[in-house]
C-alpha cells in the first residue's frame, strides 16, 4: 500500500496498527473500534498519538464524544462500490473533527476527488503508480455544484 497525504506521495507511513502481530502501542498507533471501546480508559491516558480504524457502517455515536482525542481516523472500504464511508466521513467532519481522515481498503484513483470532497485528506492506493496517478486525479474538476466537507464554494 502506498499513501497519498495532503496531495503528496508519502514514502513511509509513520502510523502503525495495533493487532495480534504488533500489539505494542507506540507513539502513533491505530486501533480498531472494538479495541478502542474495550480499552478506552487505558488508551485515553496514553501519551502518544492515537488513530482509530472504523468501517463505513460503524455508528458515529459510538465514538463521536471522543472524536477529537484522535489524530487520525481511518475509514475502511471493503469494496470500491461501497459508498457508506463517504457519508460517515461527511458526518465526522460535520461533527467538528479537524484531524487526519484516511480512506483505506479498495480505492480507485478515480475516486479520490470525491473522497477529498467529503473530507478525506489521505488515501491508501495499491502501488506507487496508482498513487501518483491518484494525485493527478485530485484536481479533476475545477468547479463544483454543491457544498461538501471541503468547503469549496459551489458556483451556481
Amino acid at each position: 500500500m502506498v499513501l497519498v497525504e495532503n496531495n503528496q506521495l508519502q514514502v513511509t507511513d509513520s502510523w502503525h496498527s495495533i493487532n495480534e502481530e504488533t500489539p505494542q502501542i507506540t507513539d502513533k498507533s491505530i486501533v480498531s473500534l472494538a479495541y478502542w471501546l474495550e480499552n478506552k480508559a487505558e488508551l485515553t491516558n496514553h501519551k502518544g498519538k492515537l488513530g482509530l480504524s472504523v468501517m463505513g457502517d460503524d455508528e458515529l455515536s459510538q465514538f463521536s464524544n471522543e472524536l477529537n482525542s484522535f489524530d487520525l481516523v481511518c475509514i475502511n472500504f471493503p469494496t470500491f462500490t461501497d459508498g457508506r464511508g463517504y457519508s460517515l466521513a461527511t458526518s465526522i467532519r460535520a461533527a467538528g473533527y479537524k484531524n487526519g481522515l484516511r480512506a483505506v481498503g479498495d480505492i480507485l484513483p478515480d475516486q479520490v476527488f470525491y473522497l477529498s470532497r467529503v473530507g478525506f485528506n489521505s488515501f491508501e492506493l495499491a502501488n506507487t503508480e496508482l498513487a501518483e496517478f491518484a494525485i493527478t486525479k485530485l484536481k479533476e474538476f475545477s468547479v463544483v455544484s454543491q457544498p461538501a466537507s471541503d468547503d469549496r464554494a459551489a458556483i451556481n
Partner: protein, 552 residues
C-alpha cells in the same frame, strides 16, 4: 428554455475529459471490467446484447432545437440514424462503439448535454411534468426547482456509490403527470395555509420487481429547505440501505423495513443538523434560477402562417385534422394557444423511436413555431408547448409528412414500451414485436376505444412501467420461452395505483387476442362515456378473467 452558463460548460467539459481517460485505460487493460463498470454506468453507458447503449440526459424533459439537431447528428454519425426516448424523459442510442463514446460526449457537450448519472447507483436525471408552466391547475412551475436539485445532485461526492439507483420526480400540479409516486423521492409543490410555497415530499416509491407507491414523509418542507431535506434522506439511505442484495437495495425496501415513522425520525434528526447550513436556499438564488428560464411572449392575435388556416376554418373543413386536434392537442392556460403532442407511436416504428430526419424536422418546426423548444414526456412522446391556434393546421400538415401526427395520444396504441429482448441484456422477453402486433390490430379503432394506458416491459425491472398500466404486460421467461403476464387497473395519474394480476402468463401468440378479449369486455360493459379504467374499476377483474382464461 433554461440557459446554461460557463460554469455548467466547464463542468461537463471536464467530465468528458475524465470519461475519455477512463475509457482509454479500460481499452488499454489498465482498468478491469469490474472496475470500469460503475464508472461507465455513472456515465450512462451499458454493455447490451449487440452493442453498448448510451443514455443521454434530458433534464426535466426540456430540449432546445439546437440540442435536438445535435442528437440527430449523433444518431447519424455514430449510430444507426435513430434514437429512442425513454420513460424518464431521456434519450438512448443502441449502437455506439465504445471507443467512440468519448467523442459522442464531446459532441454533446458542445450543446451542454451529457450522460452524467443517467445510469448507475447514483442520483439519476430529475424528471418533471411535461406540461409544466402551461397548465392552469399548477401551484407553481416546478422546473426551476428541478434545476436547483439537478445542480445539487450533479457529481455529488457523497452520493455516487449508493446502494442502488435513485430517482427524483417533481410535479407542480395536483394532477400528477410525472409519476412522482413511483419514484424514490417524489416532490409535489404545495402552498400551506399561510400561502407560502413548499414541498410535499414522498419517499420509497418505485417500480421494478417490488413495485411500491411512495409515502408522504413530510407534508410541507419550506422551499428554502428542500436541498437539506433531500440530502438528509440520501444520507440515511446511503448509510443504512441494504448492500448485500441488489434486489433489496432500493430505498423503498429500507423505508418498509424501518417503518415510515422511524425512518422519518432518522431523516429529520439528520436534517435538523444541516438545515441551516450552506444548503439553505436564498431567495436570490431561487430568483436567479427562475430568471434563467426565459419565458416566451404570447401573442393574442396572430395571422395564420403561410399554408395554414384559421383554426375554426380548419376544423370545419378537414375531418382528419379535426381528429388529430381532438386527440393530440390540449388546452393551454394562455387563450388562443394549444399544447401539441408529437406522437412517437406511429404504427411504422417501435414506440418512442425517432429517426435523424424526424429530429431535424422537429427542430426546424420548433424554431419556426415554438420558440425553439421541445419537451419529452414520460409516455415517450414529444410536446410543442406553445403553439398558436392559427399555426395548428400548418403544423399538422408538416407533422404528417414526417409521420408524427398519428392521432392516438392517451389511447391504446400510445403505449409505453421498453426496448425488450431485442436490445436489452436484462430482458426476458421481447416487447417491440408485441407492441407492433397490438398496434396493427387496433390502429383503426384506437381513438374509438378512448383513453387506455397500456404499458409493457420485457422483464420485471419494469422500464416500461407495466405495474402502473391500466393494462400492464410483463414479459417473463418460462423454460426458455417468452410468456406475458397481464395486470389490470393500474394508474399513474393523480393517485398512482398498482395493477392487479389477471392470472397465469399468456403465451406469446395469444397476447394480441388477450388484449382483444379485455377490450371486448370493456366495450360490452361500458356505461355511457365510461373510460376503460372506470369500467375496469366498476366491474372488477373477475369479469376479465372469465373471458381470457375461460376460452382456454
Amino acid at each position: 428554455m433554461y440557459q446554461y452558463n460557463e460554469f455548467d460548460q466547464t463542468q461537463i467539459d471536464e467530465r468528458v475529459a475524465q470519461f475519455r481517460e477512463q475509457t482509454d485505460r479500460f481499452l488499454a487493460g489498465a482498468l478491469t471490467e469490474e472496475q470500469f463498470r460503475p464508472l461507465r454506468l455513472m456515465n450512462g453507458l451499458y454493455f447490451q446484447t449487440h452493442a453498448p447503449m448510451l443514455r443521454v440526459n434530458i433534464p426535466y424533459g426540456l430540449l432546445s432545437s439546437k440540442q435536438l439537431r445535435m442528437l440527430a447528428h449523433i444518431s447519424r454519425k455514430y449510430d444507426k440514424d435513430y434514437a429512442h426516448f425513454t420513460t424518464r424523459q431521456n434519450i438512448q442510442y443502441n449502437w455506439p462503439e465504445l471507443a467512440q463514446v468519448p467523442d459522442i460526449l464531446a459532441d454533446l457537450a458542445t450543446v451542454q448535454m451529457h450522460a452524467i448519472q443517467s445510469s448507475g447507483n447514483c442520483i439519476r436525471n430529475i424528471t418533471s411534468d411535461p406540461l409544466a408552466g402551461i397548465q392552469a391547475d399548477e401551484v407553481e412551475d416546478p422546473r426551476p426547482y428541478c434545476e436547483i436539485i439537478r445542480q445539487w445532485s450533479t457529481l455529488h461526492p457523497e452520493f455516487s456509490y449508493l446502494p442502488r439507483k435513485f430517482k427524483f420526480a417533481v410535479s407542480g400540479s395536483p394532477k400528477d403527470r410525472a409519476a412522482t409516486e413511483v419514484h424514490d423521492i417524489g416532490i409535489h409543490m404545495v402552498r400551506n395555509s399561510a400561502g407560502e410555497l413548499g414541498f410535499e415530499v414522498l419517499v420509497g416509491g418505485g417500480l421494478g420487481r417490488t413495485p411500491m407507491i411512495g409515502q408522504v414523509i413530510n407534508s410541507f418542507v419550506d422551499e428554502k429547505d428542500i436541498l437539506s431535506y433531500v440530502e438528509a434522506i440520501l444520507r440515511v439511505y446511503n448509510r443504512f440501505g441494504r448492500r448485500d442484495n441488489k434486489y433489496k437495495a432500493r430505498i423503498k425496501i429500507l423505508v418498509k423495513a424501518t417503518g415510515l415513522a422511524a425512518f422519518k425520525e432518522q431523516v429529520e434528526t439528520e436534517w435538523h443538523t444541516i438545515k441551516n447550513g450552506p444548503l439553505k436556499l436564498s431567495q436570490e438564488r431561487i430568483d436567479r434560477v427562475k430568471n434563467l428560464f426565459i419565458k416566451q411572449p404570447y401573442l393574442v392575435e396572430k395571422e395564420p402562417c403561410l399554408n395554414s388556416l384559421p383554426l375554426e376554418q380548419a376544423l370545419e373543413t378537414n375531418e382528419q385534422f379535426k381528429a388529430w386536434f381532438k386527440q393530440n392537442t390540449l388546452a393551454h392556460k394562455q387563450a388562443n394557444y394549444r399544447i401539441v403532442y408529437l406522437s412517437l407511436k406511429s404504427p411504422n416504428r417501435p414506440p418512442g423511436d425517432i429517426t435523424d430526419q424526424q429530429m431535424d424536422t422537429v427542430a426546424d418546426l420548433a424554431d419556426e413555431l415554438n420558440a425553439g423548444e421541445i419537451r419529452t414526456t414520460h409516455d415517450q412522446n414529444l410536446i410543442f408547448a406553445d403553439i398558436h391556434q392559427n399555426d395548428l393546421y400548418y403544423l399538422w400538415q408538416k407533422l404528417q409528412e414526417i409521420d408524427l401526427a398519428t392521432a392516438n395520444i392517451g389511447t391504446l396504441t400510445d403505449m409505453i414500451c421498453c426496448p425488450g429482448l431485442d436490445f436489452c441484456s436484462l430482458a426476458n422477453a421481447s416487447s417491440i414485436d408485441i407492441s407492433q402486433n397490438i398496434t396493427q390490430r387496433f390502429k383503426d379503432s384506437t381513438t374509438e376505444l378512448g383513453d387506455i394506458r397500456l404499458k409493457m416491459s420485457g422483464c420485471m425491472n419494469g422500464c416500461g412501467h407495466h405495474s402502473i398500466g391500466e393494462i400492464g404486460i410483463l414479459g417473463v421467461d418460462k423454460k426458455g420461452e417468452q410468456w406475458y403476464q397481464f395486470t389490470l387497473g393500474g394508474s399513474d395519474s393523480e393517485a398512482s395505483k398498482l395493477g392487479q394480476r389477471l392470472g397465469p402468463a399468456i403465451a406469446k401468440e395469444n397476447v394480441t387476442k388477450t388484449v382483444e378479449d379485455i377490450l371486448d369486455i370493456y366495450t360490452e360493459n361500458k356505461q355511457n362515456s365510461e373510460t376503460f379504467a372506470e369500467t375496469c374499476h366498476r366491474i372488477g377483474i373477475d369479469s376479465f378473467k372469465e373471458r381470457v382464461y375461460g376460452s382456454r
